[in-house]
Symmetry: C2
Subunit: 474 residues, 2 copies
């Protein structure tokens, strides 16, 4: 009964995932190893993500700009930890205009260096602060193992880079932007996510600390979904970004950066989709409703057109599939593409004063009276779907959330079913590494609520300092 | 009296241009030779351009997608003319992940090759046609001489790539998209532009023909402003893009591509701006109105806030500058940034029941009664400014439009004042090259109206085949 092009999720999760990517025309492999083509259906989801996040960023005072794609080797090398973290995975341009370059240029893996370089020549006084910049762009990291959306050499993202007069302001910004990602994942993508702090080992190269939003996929594997970094004065010192403070003394400002990427399209698939194809939460679906006329009689055409018109007029993104394909073909196309609501309009139903709605998330068929208030009905149904999808994803996450008190617990859990594993930790990197030896189980984040700590380190048994969520990551 | 940071336009046009770019915070040089940082003020103009064009493209059925940044050398080489045209100016990635690559990858200078590669594996039948794709992205061309916006190694653009069943459809698409660019330049950017066809020598590498939109800058130099290419089956044959046609026979589809870039920000400056800074046409201005309160009395604050609120509610992009800078400083900042209308609200004016409007384009100060219908007044004034700016630019263009009957005419014109030079041409490349010897005067476009041809070739004196507009280009 499922879509023939899609391997059942419970048979082979990885294959199911790539089958969905292909069947819903979200992306395809390209002739460039490790790089994908984002097809119109996939790109439309990214455009919707951009629209929603960009609006929020701007409401909070951020403005967009655009830094160069290329970074000279010397500039990249100025901050030691950053270069250590990224050097192994950059691509180098060594020839341009038919000549060998005197200094090689890397394609940006991230743009802290370029922003610092810019800030260094533009920030003179406290009056120039803060700068709340963001850019939407492509970046490149030479990954060995790649997977569409989840990990590809080139990906699209936004990177916010802000610079502030005080430590407090920068800390607040780091926190605020993590709040935005958390809101975006929970409220818009219907992905129940938890926020916390990365351990020293897992934080961003060069950051003082990293806040992260972590989401659990259907199979119990964890996806990092948005990070926000506090840099303190690390980069401003390395790149000599100085300003005259209110006492007219030279000082170094404080920085943050924060980003989220096209990998979240992968997250949407792995949390919500099923064996019939993509399932999209209404708030992120580029098309929320598809209207499929059954037959071509005047009355069917008239009702279908009126329906589309009213929905569109009220801000519900909908389209009428009046192509010459069969209704069955259209149903399955709308299904595999994840359109939240399908409306079927046929002669027989009209004769009986009926109209049919089909929910994509539950595949439930609902017959209503033809004289229903269509706009408010659809609005409510979209909200119901959004909430139900969130609640289902939350239920799944809660079912796959475990507590471990010792190493054997972790092993038992991972041998049965991976998920979020809550366990206290002493804070030593040695214990963290030992835990990782169990099937690559990594610290995902330290929960910032200290009241959760109630005992001993899951590894060494010494007094715990942190309550940590662990898991296997994508 | 002019802005001190800006060299007068009539003293040194090139310096005036870069002074405006810097003073209005549109862009800055970066540490990467030939690449710029697009600063928030410049990027906001690009966002507005994107918003307007993207809406049009989508209304005409186009969808966005995203191809990879990198092109393998072998793929680039498949179409002979394209590679000849672009090979001298590409940048090559030769190392990735700390290893030398077995095949070098170029950073896309344009993406025909990638689209063809994608189409080859996705188009099987006439049912898969047309594909009307577009992408917004960065491209790189290793230019020797660079200038902010006008010519930089990396730039942002959109590139439309469509593929059709019939020649006619593709020709119509080429024409339609040229129409969009022409509309965009005339109606939105207030830049009076002429459309025509490139000569064989000047067409896009690999195209059957190229349509172009050409605009005259204040100094009489010409800027190419959007091109639309008809490829016929040239690329589909080179990249083996085949499909089963309606007779179920194998055939090659027909292609187009069309693009416009961030260089149009440079065009806006060079057509409209003055010695006081940037001047933006209201339809492309990210901020259309600035409200500057003079003083901080309750009544001033109240009136200023109410004014902003009403304008915003009615879709007029406006902001209130209530920072602690002096009114004079704010006036000159708004002026250099090119905000079309400045509204001044002060105690004395309010006491006299007055409100002051200042037009950026004419710098005219208009005092109106405080009880004016502010929304419709501002709407009308914005339209007036838009039209006046267009008419002024058109007047300037017409003044700098000349006719030449022989080579001496061209020389005389260019020795006095460059501009659009209308002259008939026999069609031979030899004559075209001879004309270019006069100060680099190039054919800009063949006007598609044959009735304009009325005589002999400006160079050889033989019977003319085309009426051509010539000029010196950026």
């Amino acid at each position: 009964m499922n879509n023939k092009a899609i391997t059942p999720r419970d048979v082979d999760f990885a294959k199911w995932y790539t089958d969905i990517v292909r069947a819903a025309h979200l992306a395809d492999y390209s002739s460039v190893k490790g790089c994908i083509v984002i097809e119109p259906n996939g790109y439309a989801i990214w455009e919707k993500m951009q629209e929603i996040l960009d609006k929020k960023f701007k409401e909070l005072g951020h403005t967009n700009c655009q830094m160069p794609l290329l970074i000279p080797e010397n500039l990249l090398k100025k901050e030691g930890e950053l270069v250590e973290g990224f050097a192994p995975e950059v691509a180098w341009v060594t020839e341009g205009g038919q000549k060998k370059l005197t200094e090689k240029l890397c394609i940006r893996p991230t743009s802290e260096t370029l922003f610092c370089d810019y800030y260094a020549s533009h920030i003179k006084s406290y009056r120039d602060l803060p700068k709340l910049y963001n850019q939407w762009c492509n970046v490149l990291r030479w990954e060995k193992e790649t997977r569409p959306f989840l990990r590809s050499r080139e990906f699209l993202w936004q990177e916010g880079h802000t610079i502030h007069e005080t430590k407090e302001e920068a800390i607040n910004e780091t926190d605020q932007m993590m709040g935005i990602y958390n809101w975006f994942h929970n409220e818009i993508l219907a992905i129940p996510s938890i926020r916390g702090k990365k351990t020293e080992k897992e934080k961003f190269a060069g950051a003082e600390y990293t806040l992260t939003n972590e989401a659990l996929m259907y199979n119990g594997v964890v996806l990092q979904a948005g990070t926000s970094h506090y840099f303190g004065q690390k980069f401003t010192k390395a790149y000599d970004v100085k300003y005259a403070n209110r006492e007219n003394k030279e000082d170094y400002p404080y920085q943050t950066s924060w980003g989220t990427t096209t990998r979240m399209i992968g997250g949407l698939i792995m949390v919500h989709s099923d064996d019939y194809g993509l399932v999209l939460p209404p708030r992120i679906a580029p098309k929320q409703v598809v209207i499929i006329p059954i037959g071509t009689s005047d009355i069917v055409t008239k009702v279908a057109n009126k329906c589309k018109e009213e929905l569109e007029k009220n801000g519900i993104s909908s389209y009428l599939d009046d192509s010459d394909k069969s209704p069955g073909f259209k149903f399955s196309e709308a299904e595999v593409n994840g359109i939240p609501i399908r409306i079927e309009i046929g002669d027989r139903d009209i004769a009986n004063q009926k109209i049919v709605f089909v929910r994509r998330d539950t595949r439930e068929k609902i017959t209503e009276s033809l004289d229903i208030e269509i706009v408010s009905y659809v609005q409510n149904l979209l909200e119901t779907i959004q909430n139900d999808m969130y609640m289902r994803a939350k239920k799944r996450r809660d079912e796959l959330t475990f507590t471990a008190h010792n190493m054997q617990d972790i092993e038992n859990i991972l041998n049965t079913q991976p998920g979020f594993i809550h366990a206290d930790w002493c804070g030593s990197q040695k214990c963290e590494e030992k835990i990782k030896e169990i099937k690559g189980c990594k610290s995902r984040c330290i929960l910032e609520n200290e009241e959760l700590i109630d005992g001993k380190c899951v590894c060494c048994g010494k007094k715990a300092k942190h309550h940590v969520v662990w898991g296997i990551q994508y």
